[in-house]
Symmetry: D2
Subunit: 346 residues, 4 copies
């Protein structure tokens, strides 16, 4: 039984990890970390766990934690993981970091986009970017996994085959993304109140959102050249789900069948990535509560562009589900263990 | 492996059964019945099943169906099950009927409240009312299970211990219930459009709702006397969930601890019924996507009443989950098999 | 032109007053008070006012404010108005207090239910309870108007004719109320985040909600005897609207027509109270964004009870609209001036 | 008093016209046309009008209607207006058509994108495209106004100044649009049920949506050259509002101030178009229930693109409000009469 510690277990992503692990046949949470609710019963915050979890929330004493668990999930704000990680810790436990601290290889880029001083740049090199379908081989032997961002997972997986095959102009990519509100976290902010979010849609972080360089870096690896994108996130009045609509100029004339073949090449054997039937648009509801990503595309002959769409559950494949998927890989378990939920809430 | 047929598999309750059975270790759906979508791929209607279910929707030829399955779920409008059931069918398969056809023992009451002629009154007597926690022993040997209504399950389970113990005046019970919109079904009706439901709440069926006699009959069995209630359902702008707030006059002075003891007497060993801690109010979100019912109560010394609250997921414990729970009982499986999901969508 | 000051203009009720007054032909806001946003542009907080209001938010210097305006609306938490009001202020300006400070005549009752020391009990006696349709004559000459609560306005107006005519047992009244989330205010609380409110319904303040004694007192005046009620509020995932479903034992056999006549007696000439047609249930959407209250009732012969329903917009008739209605009465203007909006958002 | 007839008054746009006209000082609705509800009270369908409108719904006898009114609004599906309009009608009344029938000058383009035979191509030439801020002079003397589409109004007005001034590459424009569900109409379709729309976002009509050629044509007039765009609409779980996020390549290096100056050149004197402050993103809630359009832009030096954002209320400025604005122009009234509502529902 893998012993799991969660730092930030009362945030939305942390609680989702707790929920997934609760049903995981080979893992159990033994440390519900929560600075905000230390000493309170976890199930008094997340009452769905009433009678199911009896633990109190613990603090974030990483040394103690590292002695008690096999893997730590840090579902915390940017900056925390890079401050608490060190060689000693990494010798004892695997770390799956859900923050952005180890996602970006160029520390200057990280510090510029995040406005933070990185706490332990010496571990950036070895950290593995945990986009399972792309990097699973590297994850296997990692000590430190940088779990991808929600927008990023959706954007990269949607576009990856086209970038990899050189089918799109690397400078032409525009990613227009829409997210449910759980992506904004559980902090008590006026902007995220029901009455501020409901019956509203807005863009935010236009041209400056922090997931931009992460998408660019990963698509750049795929394309084998620098990728520069426009990325615009939007806040949608729903709880879960990310939908990405991306646009790119095609580098040559292609048919639907040719592009479909390329998507199938990369994703046919990927359980959690579903390339939809022709003309079916991904919808967030069909992947909700699951680790699935639905992708599709449409060629526009009028404009010479391809429109790419992808949908995932931001808390699941976009955070907690992928984190557990990485844990499974790290510990040699079947990759879908415990995260093989049927998608769709209704 | 239990072979399952669903009549009405593309309605919300039917699709929920399909989803539950998909993860059930001892059952599989072999007949996705759907009059509306016969011949179409089930996963083209419920796209969450894309790549997971390959079946086409079939019709409702009950004879053929009865030869191919071990249990039939009829997730259909009132009146259908009573018209298609017969002795031959019942000899071949178990039937769990999610409609109201066999819930009410007095056929006149059924016909009056539903405005329908009952199609097979000869089976009413033997049908077992499938409220598992109350009637599990009777369900075991049933051929025909009348799966309770969503409002009814929530109302009865919330009030049952008090009625059973004679703690409340049987003529004083008022049930004010609130339901998510999936309870209204998947029919194309203007009244259930997003723009008609969102940002709105209304009562409906005031003094005339069909679940009234069902609640009265079952609470009457518990109380050992006639129960006459006011029942008022409300439509709430959410997808899932029922919350019941009930009021009754206490028949004697009681303390919190005394009443708590009574609830524990009936529910302490019931996995799916959780009596919450003092002063914690049930919320639909904490049971969403699960078979759990959360109940609690508050004594009001000022008025001499007790306020009783209960919450469940109308599609799960209020329909599909309980139907599968009944199937498990019918086939001698562990009662929670396949429906042991952690509650809570966020 | 009536000069208006708002203390608490950046709360939801305060901003609603600002919006109403903006279109009021005989009044203008000259003081946008907001402790939280003092010095910031009002239209930078409520961006709907961009290019329409150029004022900065001011503080709550009541002395200065009293010199500059004709009427002050205090749209502030309980306790503030009673602390800042004094004889000097009341000699200079009219005050319409949207908090509960002056609603309850018995200061002990206020202090017990609100857990606050009252700041100026000497003004309780003269304060007029500003339920316009009931007390408009008293409001005319008031200096200090206690604007009723949202739940209270809806509950009282729905039940008032029956209480007044002695048609219902004063000890049998149960009020089950449902409110949109704007009623919870604009404070940054986790409980009011989109992800905590959406897809959920819950009761709160069961048997202890502060609006209870206010409803009891006012219905007691109508009934001419003590009224003791159960009042249960619920939080509904919508922004605006209150729906009240109330239950009471009838004191005698009455027909629909007889009761209808009684409602018409009190409300036929009331512009803002609409007694709906037989069997039509009030819905919050039909009064949204307006000062209207829709009421109706249903007699249940089976139980000897009457079910009473009422709907209003909690921010409008339940707060800001009624406050302006009171202002109109105070200043001798047509009562519907500036609040005569067509109801219904969609 | 202008006499108004509405064909399609029980659709969402038609009812919005009815609501606006109800408060219009110089117009009144004398004909509530509704094929679906002919003979029923208008206020029995839209209960917000209870006690405010007493009329029954009438049919669509255009001849009779033309004799009784000064202006007809056709808030009907595509194809109807072009079939019922004729010279006789146009001699008698002004027509403001909210469908697409007369928006596109090239009848072949119309017939191709809409899949309909145009019923009266002889009137296309004289019809004026009623985007008031662009074409008000032409509207003045029109007999037949083609009221713009909701997506189109928002897209064109957001991009217009840049196209007009040649600041963007006419072939590079991508419009990613998000709409509330009222845009899908009030037809009883499964796809628009609450349970299908809530907690979901999806793109639809990708590369084929009918508003595409309308946007291209109008922006082409502005740019003085052919414009070819990608247009992708999305369905958002909210009732009202459209947000457009558009992307285009800048044709030269420009600063924020230079672009701001261009927007101000066209919109500074436009009451209903608000160019927001630097870095403030339009949000649909701030224009909800009003005729306002909020626009803004952001230059991205990294990509050489400009990101343009616009928000309006699809039922108001995107349909009914603009239709009344056109009526005001047609009849020489102040352009903002009756539509001068303060934006923002909360």
């Amino acid at each position: 039984m893998i012993k799991v510690g969660i730092i930030g277990s009362t945030g939305y992503a942390g609680a989702e990890i707790a929920k997934i692990i609760k049903n995981h046949p080979e893992a159990e949470v033994v440390w519900y970390g929560s600075r905000s609710y230390e000493g309170e019963k976890f199930s008094s915050i997340y009452k769905n766990f009433y009678e199911l979890v009896d633990d109190d929330c613990l603090g974030d004493d990483i040394e103690k934690l590292a002695d008690e668990v096999d893997v730590i999930f840090t579902a915390t704000p940017q900056g925390l993981c890079s401050q608490i990680v060190n060689e000693d810790i990494l010798k004892k436990v695997k770390i799956v970091d859900l923050s952005a601290d180890f996602r970006i290889k160029d520390v200057n880029t990280y510090e510029k986009w995040y406005g933070l001083k990185h706490g332990s740049p010496e571990f950036i090199e070895e950290a593995v970017y945990g986009l399972c379908e792309v990097n699973r081989d590297k994850v296997k032997n990692a000590r430190l996994v940088a779990n991808p961002g929600c927008y990023t997972s959706c954007s990269i997986l949607s576009i990856y085959p086209l970038a990899k095959e050189g089918l799109i102009d690397a400078k032409s990519i525009i990613v227009d993304a829409k997210s449910g509100t759980s992506g904004a976290g559980r902090g008590a902010k006026v902007a995220n109140l029901f009455c501020e979010v409901n019956e509203n849609i807005k863009a935010y972080g236009v041209t400056t959102h922090r997931h931009t360089p992460e998408i660019e870096e990963q698509l750049g690896y795929a394309a084998g050249e620098d990728v520069v994108i426009n990325f615009t996130p939007h806040l949608v009045p729903m709880q879960r789900g990310i939908l990405v609509t991306a646009y790119a100029n095609l580098t040559k004339d292609v048919t639907y069948d040719e592009v479909k073949k390329i998507y199938d090449k990369y994703y046919k054997d990927e359980k959690f990535i579903r390339v939809l039937d022709k003309d079916v648009c991904p919808e967030t509801r069909w992947v909700s509560g699951s680790n699935y990503v639905d992708v599709n595309f449409k060629i526009d002959e009028r404009t010479g562009r391809i429109v790419i769409m992808g949908a995932l559950d931001n808390l699941f494949k976009g955070a907690a589900g992928q984190a557990v998927q990485n844990m499974n890989i790290l510990f040699g378990l079947p990759e879908d263990m415990g995260i093989d939920l049927i998608p769709g809430v209704l």
